[in-house]
C-alpha cells in the first residue's frame, strides 16, 4: 500500500513511517500542511494518515476539506491530540474516515490504516463471506464451518461478521467496540476478550485449525494459523 503520512512531530512521524514500512507499505512523509496538501492532491495514495494540527498555515482539516472538495476519496485517518467528542465529530464531518487520538499504540494505527484501505475499495454488496472453511451467509444469517452449521447469538454473528470482513487484518479491541457495539468509550473490564473467547468456543473449539488468532499487544485477526 502507498501511504502518505502528514505529521509535523519528527519523533512521532519517524515512528509511524518506520512501523508502516516494516509492515510492508510504501510510505511518503510530509512535515507541514503545505507539502502535505501538495502531495495529497498530486499523487495517488491508498491511505493518508493526517495530523490535525500542522504548521504552515494549513491544518489537517483544511487539507481534508480541500481533498474532498476535489472529489478525492482517498481514505483518511485523522490523528489528533484533541479527544473531545465534538472534535471527533468535527473531524469525521470534514470527511475523515477514522479518528485516532494521541497518544496511540502503533498496532492500533496500523490496524486502522489497513482497515481503511479495505474500505476504500468499493466492494459491491456482498451476500456471502468466506474465510478458509468458514462460511457466512449474510442473507439467511447462517454460519457454517466445514459444512457444519454453527448457531450464533445476534451479537456473536456481528462480531464474527466484522472479523470476517477484515480477515487477514488485525482488528483491535477498540475497533471491535466501535464497529460491533457502537461504543465510543473504554469499558474498564476487558469485555471484548470474553466475547471473543465465547465466539472461539463455537467457531474454533470443535475444529482442528483455529481461525481466530490473538495478536499480542494489538487485538485479533481471523486467519488460519500457518507457521
Amino acid at each position: 500500500m502507498r501511504i502518505l503520512v502528514v505529521e509535523d512531530d519528527k519523533d512521532v512521524a519517524g515512528f509511524i513511517v518506520r512501523g508502516l514500512k516494516e509492515a510492508g507499505h510504501v510510505v511518503e512523509h510530509a512535515e507541514n500542511g503545505r507539502d502535505g496538501l501538495f502531495m495529497a492532491v498530486s499523487e495517488p495514495f491508498d491511505a493518508i494518515v493526517l495530523d490535525r494540527m500542522l504548521p504552515g498555515g494549513i491544518d489537517g482539516l483544511k487539507i481534508l476539506e480541500t481533498l474532498r472538495s476535489q472529489k478525492n476519496a482517498t481514505p483518511v485517518l485523522i490523528l489528533s491530540a484533541l479527544a473531545d467528542v465534538t472534535e471527533r465529530v468535527k473531524g469525521l464531518k470534514a470527511g475523515g474516515d477514522d479518528y485516532l487520538t494521541k497518544p496511540f499504540a502503533f498496532a492500533e494505527l496500523l490496524a486502522r490504516v489497513e482497515a481503511l484501505s479495505r474500505r476504500g475499495k468499493s466492494e459491491g454488496p456482498t451476500t456471502k463471506l468466506v474465510v478458509e472453511d468458514l462460511e457466512m451467509d449474510l442473507l439467511s444469517r447462517q454460519v457454517k464451518r466445514a459444512g457444519q452449521k454453527i448457531d450464533l447469538q445476534p451479537r456473536e454473528f456481528r462480531l464474527l461478521e466484522y472479523l470476517m470482513r477484515h480477515a487477514g487484518q488485525v482488528v483491535t479491541r477498540t475497533m471491535l467496540l466501535e464497529g460491533v457495539w457502537d461504543y465510543h468509550f473504554d469499558p474498564q473490564t476487558n469485555v471484548i476478550d470474553v466475547h471473543v473467547s465465547r465466539l472461539r468456543q463455537k467457531v474454533d473449539k470443535p475444529f482442528p485449525v483455529p481461525l481466530i488468532q490473538t495478536i499480542r499487544n494489538a487485538g485479533y485477526t481471523l486467519r488460519a494459523e500457518r507457521v
Binding site: V85, F185, P187, Q188, T189
Partner: protein, 461 residues
C-alpha cells in the same frame, strides 16, 4: 485588566453626568431665550407700534390742514406728553428745523420706512431714542420717535438677570453632574471593588446587596451567582489537579522505575524488552486515566447539553447488559435485567449508556462468584430510575459521599483493578441531566440508582 475596567466605569459615569448637565443647560438656555423674547422684545415692539400710531394720526392731520395743522398738532402733542418721551421733528428739504423737540436733524437718519436707534440731544440733554423718518410733500421731512432710555435700562436689567440665571443654572448643572457621577460611581464601586478583590486572588468576596431589591441588587445577585459557579468550578479544578498530582504520581513513578531499572540492570535484550513493554502498559494506564478525567471535565462543562434530545433508552440499556453478560457469566455472576419496552427520557443516550456501563462494570466486578447482580429501569413519579444492584461488599455509609469523588477507591476496592473515576463520571452524567446518583445499601451489597428527571428543563448545575 481590573484597572482598565475601572476606567471604563469612570468614563461611563462622566458621560452620564455630562449628558445630564448638557440637557439641563440646554433647557435653561431655551427658557431664557423665550423669556427675553417675551419681555425685552415686547418693549421694542410696543415702542414701534406707538410710533406707527403717531405717524398715522399726524398724517391724517396733515391731509386735513397741511403743514400748518401738522405744526399745531405736534405742538399740542408735545405739550400733552405726560411721560415726556415723545420725539417729533419737522424739517424742510434742507434739514432746517421747522418745529419739534430735537435740537437738530439726526445725521444718521437717511432713509424713511425703517427704525433707527440713536443718541439724541433734547433740550440740552443727551438721550437714547428710537425713531422713524417720513417724507412729506413739498420736501418736508418728519421724524417721529420715542425716548427709550428707561426701556433700554429695563432691557439691560432683564438681559443681565437672564444671563446670571444661566450662569447659575450651569453651575448647578455641574454640581448635579458631579453628584450623579459620584452616585453612579458609588453604586458601581461596590461591584468593581469586588471584581478587583477577586482579580487580586480573594475569591471569597461577593458584591454587597443594598437590600432595596432594585436593578443594581438584581445585577449584584446575578454577579454573585456567577462568582459562586466559577468558585465551584475552580474548586473542582483544584481538586482534580491535586488528585492528578497525587494519584498519577504512583503509576508514573512505577513506569519510570521500570525503565531506569531496565537501563541499569537488564542483562539480556529479552529482559529489556519485557521491562519496556511493562512500562508502556503503565503509560497506557496513565493515558486512560487522563482520558477519563478529560471526559468527566467535558461532561461537567455542560457543552453536551446542546445535543440533548428525546431518547428511548431501552435499546442502549439492553446493549450494556448484553455487553457485560458474558463477563458476568465468566465470573459466575448472574446478571439479570428488568427493562420495560420503552424507557423514554430526555438527554444524551451515549452518555447515559456509558454511565450505566460503569455501574454494571462495578456490579460485576464486585460481585462474589455465584452472586447475582441486576440492572433495572422504571418510571417513577415524573422521573426515570435506573438501578444497578450487586451483593458484593458494598460501600460503608460514611464513605458514600466520598465514593463519587475522583480517584476515590474504597478499602474493599483496593485490590480490584480500576481508576477510581467510574462513579465520578456517573455523578457528572447525572448532574448534566439534572438528576442524581444515589448509593444505597442492598443488604448486603450496593444499589446504585441513577435518577433522571423526565422533563427537558435540566437546571444549570
Amino acid at each position: 485588566m481590573a484597572a482598565s475596567r475601572f476606567t471604563v466605569f469612570r468614563s461611563a459615569g462622566v458621560r452620564f453626568a455630562a449628558t445630564y448637565a448638557g440637557l439641563l443647560a440646554l433647557s435653561a438656555a431655551a427658557l431664557a431665550l423665550f423669556l427675553w423674547w417675551a419681555t425685552a422684545g415686547l418693549l421694542d415692539r410696543q415702542t414701534e407700534a406707538a410710533i406707527r400710531a403717531d405717524a398715522q394720526g399726524l398724517s391724517e392731520r396733515w391731509e386735513d390742514g397741511g403743514t400748518k395743522a401738522l405744526i399745531a398738532i405736534i405742538g399740542e402733542r408735545l405739550a400733552g406728553n405726560v411721560d415726556d418721551d415723545a420725539i417729533y421733528l419737522l424739517a424742510d428739504a434742507t434739514h432746517k428745523l421747522v418745529t419739534g423737540n430735537l435740537d437738530r436733524w439726526p445725521a444718521t437718519v437717511q432713509e424713511t420706512g425703517r427704525f433707527y436707534e440713536l443718541t439724541v440731544t433734547r433740550s440740552g440733554m443727551r438721550s437714547l431714542a428710537r425713531v422713524q423718518a417720513f417724507d412729506l410733500p413739498d420736501g418736508f421731512q418728519l421724524v417721529i420717535g420715542r425716548d427709550v432710555v428707561v426701556r433700554t435700562q429695563l432691557r439691560h436689567l432683564l438681559t443681565d438677570a437672564l444671563l446670571w440665571a444661566l450662569v447659575l443654572v450651569c453651575g448647578m448643572a455641574t454640581i448635579g453632574a458631579i453628584l450623579v457621577r459620584s452616585l453612579f460611581r458609588r453604586t458601581l464601586a461596590n461591584v468593581s471593588a469586588t471584581a478587583q478583590a477577586i482579580a487580586g486572588g480573594d475569591f471569597t468576596q461577593r458584591v454587597r446587596l443594598s437590600g432595596r431589591g432594585d436593578e443594581f441588587d438584581q445585577l449584584a445577585d446575578v454577579i454573585n451567582d456567577m462568582l459562586d459557579r466559577i468558585g465551584r468550578l475552580m474548586e473542582g479544578v483544584r481538586q482534580v489537579s491535586n488528585a492528578i498530582a497525587h494519584d498519577l504520581r504512583t503509576p508514573i513513578t512505577r513506569a519510570r522505575t521500570r525503565l531506569e531499572d531496565a537501563t541499569l540492570h537488564a542483562e539480556t535484550p529479552v529482559e529489556l524488552r519485557a521491562a519496556i513493554e511493562r512500562a508502556t502498559a503503565d503509560l497506557d494506564g496513565i493515558v486512560g486515566v487522563f482520558q477519563a478525567l478529560l471526559r468527566i471535565a467535558e461532561i461537567e462543562a455542560g457543552s453536551r447539553r446542546a445535543a440533548f434530545a428525546r431518547i428511548d433508552l431501552a435499546a442502549p440499556l439492553a446493549a450494556v447488559a448484553e455487553l457485560y453478560e458474558a463477563v458476568a457469566e465468566e465470573r459466575g455472576v448472574t446478571l439479570s435485567t428488568t427493562l420495560p419496552d420503552h424507557v423514554m427520557s430526555f438527554g444524551d443516550a451515549a452518555l447515559i449508556q456509558q454511565a450505566v456501563a460503569n455501574l454494571v462494570d462495578n456490579a460485576v466486578k464486585f460481585s462474589p462468584s455465584g452472586g447475582a447482580a441486576s440492572l433495572s429501569a422504571r418510571l417513577l413519579g415524573g422521573g426515570l430510575e435506573i438501578a444497578v444492584t450487586d451483593h458484593g461488599p458494598g460501600i460503608p455509609t460514611e464513605d458514600r459521599q466520598k465514593a463519587t469523588q475522583r480517584f476515590y477507591r474504597g478499602e474493599t476496592a483496593r485490590h480490584t483493578p480500576g481508576s477510581g473515576l467510574g462513579l465520578a463520571l456517573v455523578q457528572a452524567v447525572a448532574q448534566l441531566h439534572g438528576g442524581v446518583l444515589r448509593l444505597e445499601d442492598a443488604e448486603p451489597g450496593l444499589r446504585a440508582v441513577l435518577a433522571l428527571p423526565l422533563s427537558g428543563d435540566a437546571p444549570a448545575a
